[in-house]
Structure formats: structure tokens, C-alpha cells
Symmetry: D2
Subunit: 110 residues, 4 copies
């Protein structure tokens, strides 16, 4: 099994999470109650960046897989915590994608 295959599930989840975060970012910037979403906007955008970086690094077999996955899990935790406070559908979906990442992260670090 190549390193790429070993991390396949994590890579796919990272890309899903990146998509959910980017969608939440764009949608949040269109919401009427923009002021309440300042932290959300920053966090989902940052989480999207970190997920993308993670997927890219893992797919080329980075030797820093452990560290990068830990960073990604931390970003997803912060993002899930923030987004789960907002009732918008895009926030709830983003929180779900982040929670999936945290689960997978636990499997890998176990």
C-alpha cells in the first residue's frame, strides 16, 4: 500500500471539508447579519486553506504527514466549534465536514 493509498480517506475528507468551508465562506459573506459572522468568515477560510494544503501534501507523500494532519485537525476543531454556533445551513454543513475530519484524525493518531 502506497502512502497515497494509506491516506486516501483522509485526503478525500480534506477535499470535502475544503469545499464545505469555501461554500460557507462565500455564503456567510452574503448573509444579512454579517457582523455576527466575522469569526466564522475568517475561520472557515483558514480551515479551507489548511485542508487544501493537507490534501495536496498527503497526495504527494509528505514526510510531515503526522504534523500536517494534526494542524488540520486543530483547524477543523476550531472551525466546527465556531460554525456549530450558527444556524445557517452552510455553517451546519461546514461543522459536519469538520467533525468528520476530527473523527478521521483520531483514527490516524490512535
Amino acid at each position: 500500500m502506497t502512502q497515497d493509498q494509506q491516506y486516501r480517506e483522509f485526503i478525500d475528507a480534506s477535499l470535502e471539508c475544503m469545499n464545505a468551508c469555501n461554500y460557507c465562506y462565500v455564503s456567510s459573506l452574503k448573509e444579512y447579519e454579517l457582523a455576527s459572522l466575522r469569526d466564522c468568515i475568517r475561520l472557515v477560510r483558514e480551515c479551507a486553506d489548511i485542508c487544501m494544503f493537507t490534501a495536496d501534501a498527503l497526495s504527494r507523500g509528505t514526510i510531515f504527514a503526522k504534523e500536517i494532519m494534526e494542524l488540520c485537525a486543530k483547524a477543523c476543531e476550531a472551525c466546527a466549534k465556531e460554525c456549530s454556533q450558527h444556524e445557517h445551513d452552510h455553517c451546519q454543513k461546514c461543522a459536519d465536514a469538520c467533525k468528520r475530519m476530527i473523527e478521521l484524525s483520531c483514527v490516524h493518531s490512535a
Copy 2:
């Protein structure tokens, strides 16, 4: 239909292509006949970067979608041309993923 949905197929193909390019990159660097793969290594790595950038930008509804997709199609053309010259399985698969991108690009620019 959101911009995200409109470009969904292109985003998914970009991520597939990024994976194929990254796999070809890592595999090429392990090949015995390394010297014949100099251009291949550089091109697949660059194509991977551009595909990732494209997927990320499209998934957050970039207003530069047309320009970015054109750049991505150019990178995929150059990469497909290079990789199809090499018999390695990873090169052939990378060329296939790139050709798929070129097809999709034609649909969008039509």
C-alpha cells in the same frame, strides 16, 4: 444553480488531476531512468499546483473563473503532451487525467 454547482464537474476533475499529477511526481522521482524525466517531474508538479489552485478558486466562486480555467487547461495540455511520451503507468494515468481536463475545458469555453 450556484457557481459552485455549475463548476462542480470541473472542480472534481481538477482534484482528480491533481492527485494523478502528484502520484506521477512522486513515482517519477523514484524511477531508475531519472534523467529522461526531468521535464516530466517539473511539469506534473506544476500542473498539480495549478489544478489545486483552480479547484480551490472555483469552489469559492472566483470572479476569474474563465481565466483560471484557461490557465489550467494550458497546463494540462503541456502535461498531457509530456506524460504521454513516457510508458510508465503513472505517466499514462496522468496524461489521461489531463486529457479529461482539456475535454471539460472545451465544454466550458464553448
Copy 3:
């Protein structure tokens, strides 16, 4: 002269512009009149991404230099247009950094 040296000025300006855009992004998200800055927030963040991608690609001698610099100039034009409409110091500085990029871009495409 290596390709890296040839593009040195453009790379440095891209990194300056990335910094100005990122600073404007963070500052805009803290402003009281957030609603008037929706487009600004999205554009400066996107321009930052494109500038970073441009600097990275040029510094490793991309064969797509022309296309990437054109994309970057377009992003800087849109960003300069948006930011120059806002009186905030961070917006004005961001607009200035973008205008510098447009000037350099004209030199290279001349």
C-alpha cells in the same frame, strides 16, 4: 540572467501586494461598516491568493509565466478598483500595491 532574476522585481512586488491584501482582509473584517466591505473582503483575499501563487510559480521558473502574470494583473486591477473606493487606510494601501503590480505588468507585457 536566470528566469528567477528576470522576474525578481515582479516576484517582490507580488509578495508586497499579497501582504497588503492580507492586511486589508484582516482589517476589513474588523471594521464597523462591515456590510459595505463584502466585495472588498472577497476581492482582497482572492488577490492575495493569486499574488502568492504568482510569486511562487515565477520563483520556480514556471513555463506559464505570461499567463500567470496576466491573471495576476487582472486580479490586481479588480482589487485596486474596489479598494480605491474605500477611505480606510488599509484599503488605500492595498490599492497602491495593486496599482504597482499593474504598472510592472505593463512593462513585462510591452
Copy 4:
């Protein structure tokens, strides 16, 4: 002092290191003794990516500054160790830029 200013020195060093790594990457791929540079090529390219990601994240005031700087320092350590084994000028310069990052990292984590 803003977070951006606080990390200014680290950001500038990251961008310098990214440049040195990218230059080493491109130059290594042109060397005659390519086979001896397999690890070098992969590591400098990865280090360049991580440095760029670090500079970008710090310049927009990431809340994960500590984790990202630690990851960056680890990448620079591995890259410095590898590059200092090769006599090529581009490898030596890359190793120097990486060592500068490790020093700065120690200051910040102290």
C-alpha cells in the same frame, strides 16, 4: 503592534527561504548527477510549499501561528540537513536560508 508586525521578521525569512528552496529545486533538476539529488528535490520543493503557506498564514494573522511555525521549522530542519550534504552552491544557499529559519523559530518559541 499588530500580529502582522510581530511576525514580520519570520514572514520575510519564510519568503527568502521559499525563494532559496525554489531556486535549489529548479537547479537540482538540471544537475548531471540527478540520481543523488532525489531526496533533495522532494525536500526543497516541500519546504518551499510549507514556507509559502507559513508566510501567507502569518501575514493574515492566523490563530494557528504557533503550530504552523513549528511545522515550518521542522521542514526547514529536514531540508537544511539534506541540502548541507550537497556541495552545489544552490544547495548550500538553501541550507543557509533554512538554518536562518530554525534560528528565528527558536526565538519565537523561547
